[in-house]
């Protein structure tokens, strides 16, 4: 049992201490090409990002409308209650 644990400890240690191998020789695009591709993707995503930037304002507007509606509803209910009591 202890022998098994010791073996596992050594194996685990060796696995994490192994230096990472050299990166594979997969074709990596030149950095200029890569960056141009990123900017192309970013420009395509720009309208989506713009709508996301508007989100806090949209959310705020919705909350404001909801508060006004609820207040109006509450006021109507209280008026209705008062008139029914009368």
């Amino acid at each position: 049992m202890n022998d098994q644990k010791a073996k596992l400890d050594r194996l685990e240690q060796a696995l994490w201490q192994a230096p990472p191998p050299a990166p594979p020789s997969a074709p990596v695009p030149p950095v200029e090409v890569w960056q141009a591709n990123v900017m192309r993707a970013v420009r395509l995503a720009a309208p989506e990002a713009a709508s996301l930037l508007d989100l806090p304002w949209l959310a705020l507007r919705r909350v404001a409308v909801a508060v006004v509606l609820m207040a109006a509803l509450g006021w109507t209910e209280s008026v209705a209650e008062t008139s029914s009591m009368e």
Binding site: L11, E12, Q13, A18, A26, Q35, V42, R43, L52
Partner: protein, 198 residues
């Protein structure tokens, strides 16, 4: 390509992007691409690094509305990078066609040598490094994406629990629990393989 604008800070460039100037994002990419490539190279396969780095920058662009200038942009970007690497492995796990790697005789021999404490001295040889990396990949392929990420950040990258918690947006307790369980799973996988080779 637009030249880098060193006179502008990250925060100023981000303000320009938010105001609708998409081109102001390019100096940010130039400034931070080495950092993003370094993170991607540590956490996804070599052939996927460039594509993952691209996805990180697009995601960051789409999330700029959530960036708060109190913390450095590089730090915020690192979190998005880690999350993107995590999502890469989650997607890999969902693909049933992803072939499971298999250990051959050389790997089995490496396992045996490593368990006897004989492997580390030989790490100067490229084949030995490759075998160790293959065995680690094979074992990590059998744990979840979150287990993989926490184990590699903790044991290979040397991050502290606090750093991992910040980078992943988790609590330190969650990092500790995940690390403990993931290590237990990994040891179980290795133990099973060692038994199978006897």
């Amino acid at each position: 390509m637009q030249p880098d604008a060193p006179e502008l800070t990250d925060a100023e460039l981000i303000a320009q992007v938010r105001a609708g100037d998409v081109n102001a994002y390019e100096p940010l990419i130039t400034r931070h691409r080495d950092q993003v490539f370094a993170i991607a190279a540590r956490h996804v396969p070599g052939a996927q690094v460039a594509e993952t780095a691209q996805e990180i920058f697009v995601r960051a662009f789409l999330s700029l509305s959530t960036y708060r200038a109190e913390k450095p942009f590089a730090h915020w970007l690192s979190r998005i990078a880690m999350r993107t690497c995590y999502d890469y492995w989650r997607q890999q796990k969902r693909r049933p066609e992803t072939p499971a790697s298999v250990l051959d005789e050389d790997h089995q021999e490496w396992l045996e040598r490593a368990s006897q404490g004989l492997a580390r001295d030989a790490f100067t040889h490229e084949t030995e490094q490759r075998e160790a990396a293959d065995v680690l990949d094979w074992a990590l392929a059998q744990v979840s994406a979150s287990d993989r990420l926490v184990l590699t950040m903790l044991h290979r990258d040397g991050h502290s629990v606090a750093e991992i918690a910040t980078l992943l947006g988790w609590t330190q307790t969650r990092v500790k629990v995940t690390a403990f369980r993931a290590r237990h799973k990994l040891r179980g996988i290795l133990a099973g393989q060692m038994k199978a080779t006897r």
